[in-house]
Symmetry: none
Subunit: 247 residues, 2 copies
DNA sequence: CAGTGGTCTAGACCACGAA
DNA sequence: TCGTGGTCTAGACCACTGT
């Protein structure tokens, strides 16, 4: 033991953080196993795991069950653009992202009946999307719409069609109103593992509900992003005309 | 042991959460010590502490070292409504909130010059607002506008005038575009102390920039909310007219 | 199957708060 | 001083991944 010998999680995290930020350990590289690291730092696995959890919270480390801990590529922030009316506007604006889509039909239940204003059990088309940028997950989407509004072909297993759909599709006639509610909260366990973030790292959650001119809800989208990877931007343009000038 | 016997942290948290939300344990009340609870649930203290940490993350439990774990008073979420064009739309919608405003003049520097598109050192009117709901801080705002656009009287020490301004003022002519950027991040030390939250609880940060029809930035607002206390909602209404129907 | 991370236990010790 | 929460250890066992 020639160098320093940190003992608490904070010190261990500091040591590993330095090795990562100085390039001593390269992005994408796998860290030694937790057992080995615990021995090296002369701590228990629990203590070492606390250090790794801290680094994961900072977005420096990505944990993959059964494979190892990996140094994450530093990422720039990506914009979620509100009001686009596409399934996942963030993807349309970022061609480097890849999206995998899985579609099924589910009966409406619980919160969904409220969001879509449909009775319990009515059939909904569900699209589960995971967008990935250079191997690291970037966004998670669960999109629901009344089954009869889902475009034909999208529900088939034509992946190319679904890809195009997920990126650019506008849902029939443009929605009359789009309401987007943004909050921050801890991820669910499923979200944490899908996005490979810690359960303490907050996510940015966007609930988007689109309504047509008759007041019918045509789409509800539940979008989840790692808080440190996306900003959401909403723009309102006021039109110049007589009515507004007088009102 | 007549009832259920949860074993994992999640189940224990569920059980305690139920007891809290049903009023079985009252707000302000102290929970049994961690040792006692660990025995009661037949788990180790580490496991029990994970359950309590989860409840703390939900804002249901407050831990005080050396004293115990206490049930916290839950607070409802308040909406931030995007695109209103007032100084603090969340307040306009919530009459129970009180706002304190402090106004000064500062020279533009750093990030502000970029946001407002003004040269370094040009005079800006700054409004620092803290909104409070029933003794607990609810939102923090730093609002900047070019000095010559600030309404007369607002910069004086007329607090009633500032109150009205902060709640309802529309800044001269309505802005042509309002762009709001939302992100989540840990609070700065100042924010954490002003909002009385932990440095680990993320905040919802809204940066609102309003531009008039000439392209001049008329206002930049930096808004900060405790993540567990506010949602932000943005609505877009599409106008029916020939141009949109054809496009 | 072997190797990895994920979870849990029992017990030790330290740090804080109130009597 | 005592009871509380805060941290850590050593070891066991489970769950996931790739061979």
């Amino acid at each position: 033991m020639t160098g320093t010998m940190p003992s608490r999680p904070h010190d261990i995290a500091d040591d590993l953080r330095r090795q990562i930020t100085t390039g001593r350990i390269q992005p994408g590289e796998r860290l030694p196993s937790e057992t080995v690291l615990a021995e090296r730092y002369a701590v228990s696995t629990v203590t070492l795991r606390r250090a790794l959890a801290a680094l994961q919270g900072e977005g420096l480390v990505e944990k993959i069950h059964g494979k190892g801990n990996f140094v994450r590529r530093p990422h720039r922030k990506i914009m979620y653009v509100g009001g686009w009316g596409t399934l996942d506007p963030w993807t349309a604006a970022e061609p480097s992202l890849r999206v995998s889509v899985h579609s099924t039909t589910v009966p409406a239940h619980g919160h969904l009946t409220t969001l879509l204003k449909v009775p319990v059990g009515s059939p909904l088309a569900e699209f589960s999307c995971l967008s990935v940028e250079e191997e690291t997950p970037h966004g998670l989407a669960h999109i629901y719409m009344p089954r009869d509004l889902a475009p034909a072909g999208v529900l088939d297993d034509n992946s190319a069609c679904r890809q195009a759909f997920a990126r650019f599709a506008v849902l029939g006639p443009p929605p009359a109103t789009t309401r987007e509610t943004v909050c921050t909260r801890p991820p669910t366990p499923d979200e944490a593992s899908a996005l490979r973030i810690g359960s303490a790292s907050p996510v940015l959650s966007v609930t988007r509900v689109s309504t047509d001119f008759t007041g019918r809800v045509v789409e509800a989208a539940l979008l989840t992003f790692p808080g440190d990877r996306v900003d959401a931007v909403f723009t309102i343009h006021r039109v110049i005309d007589e009515r507004q000038a007088q009102g």
